[in-house]
């Protein structure tokens, strides 16, 4: 998996400029809030259009402003797990969990529902309603839902940020097991550098919309 990025985004006063290649199967992205981490993930997912530039995964061009190419999110096969799950609240767990799976072409399904349920340990939740789930349970369901869409790349936007330490410890082993067993390439965004380094093979630090450090040089704590 190689993600080639050379993009600018300007939104009011905020500007993001990233030009790099992410080649590890797992990459962490850290930085303070407002640094552009989420915008970067949304760019790769196709939810935000670059003002200028090009995004390609393994040579497959997803955005190229010079050639007026913008592949819409639903055709990218890139999963995104949000900070707060973002599950449809009026359904039981199984329906939103299989939302993406049902939209797949027959040959494109690489991950079975049962395997995801086992890996994430969500069997007891399947028949329950979303509204009754705890934060940790929701995050596991959100992760399962993204996996079931069989993405070629999974983006995780602070998936553990809203959880307390006990819940983190409940979800983290599941995450590690999933990525190991499914060999799913992923980008992991978090402001927690230690957690990110434990999970990923390469760490990129961004601040004020620009890359400031990579891998072995964790970012210096900023004053603001």
């Amino acid at each position: 998996m190689a993600i080639d990025l050379d993009v600018d985004v300007t939104r009011g006063a905020f500007a993001l400029r990233i030009a790099t290649r992410l080649a590890e199967p797992s990459t962490g992205i850290t930085g303070p809030s407002g640094s552009g981490k989420t915008t970067l993930l949304h760019l790769i997912a196709g939810l935000v259009r670059p003002t200028r530039g090009r995004i390609a995964i393994d040579g497959d061009v997803l955005d190229d402003t010079a050639r007026r190419i913008h592949v819409p999110p639903h055709r990218r096969r890139i999963g995104l797990v949000f900070q707060h799950g973002r599950l449809l609240p009026h359904l039981t767990v199984e329906e939103p969990a299989r939302y993406g799976e049902r939209l797949l072409a027959a040959g494109a399904r690489r991950i079975a529902f049962r395997d995801v349920v086992d890996l994430l340990d969500i069997a007891p939740l399947v028949a329950r309603r979303i509204a009754g789930l705890s934060g940790g349970e929701r995050q596991r369901v959100a992760l399962g839902r993204a996996l079931l869409a069989s993405p070629r790349l999974l983006l995780l936007d602070e998936p553990l940020a809203s959880l307390d330490q006990r819940l983190k410890e409940q979800v983290l082993p599941g995450l590690e097991r999933v990525f190991r067993e499914l060999r799913m390439p992923f980008l992991y965004v978090s402001h927690d550098v230690a957690e990110t380094r434990a999970l990923t093979g390469d760490v990129v630090a961004i601040e004020h919309g620009a890359m400031v450090a990579r891998s072995d040089a964790p970012p210096a704590p900023s004053a603001g």
């Binding site: 939810l47 995104l80 449809l88 939209l103 839902r145």
Partner: protein, 231 residues
Amino acid sequence: MSGWLSAEEVDVLLLSLRVALASIAVLAIPGIAMGWLLARRDFFGKSLVDALVHLPLVLPPVVIGYLLLTVFGRRGLVGARLEEWFGLGIAFTWKGAALAAAVMAFPLMVRAVRLAIELTDREIEDAARTLGAGPLRVLLTVTLPLAAPGVLAGMVLAFARSLGEFGATFMLAGNIEGETRTMPVAIYSYIQQHDGDAPLHRLVLISIAVSVVALMGSEWLSRRLARRLAA
């Protein structure tokens, strides 16, 4: 009911309900589409479209009725074609009454849908998009179910507005007993008769009752839906 109301008044009530339901049927899909468009899309001329949608709220209803008559009348641009090609008469028929009511209620429906969609969580839509759902599927499986309480409230408001429509209806559809004499038109007719006081008062009471029941029903349904959506 027929013991209390005369056959004529029952006809007026049933016709009004038919016209209001037809009005909702005509405006539901365009109203949802326009509400979504104004809530979720930016396009050239959006403020002009927004202004045109709201025109029936600010123009005198008789002006809207007159404009509809020039377009849908027997010699109107559209009306003449409909008559010629499909044998479909609009002016001075109950269909005209429904059309006039739909046009007048349209902005209320659009405003309710727009507000409901603007209040839904965009991240849930974004999540669906990354799961492979195209724009139409996102609208049908995420946006509309989440906005359902507001959409429903808009439809009830439009229904109540349609029941009460007078000015545009009178211009386009006239006052034909059993065809276009809806409750407000009938009330207007009774007021001009010397012996019309008793039926007048009954129709006024029914108007109030139907509207109150519709508004309370929509409030109840909205709250039920909102509870179901509460995460």
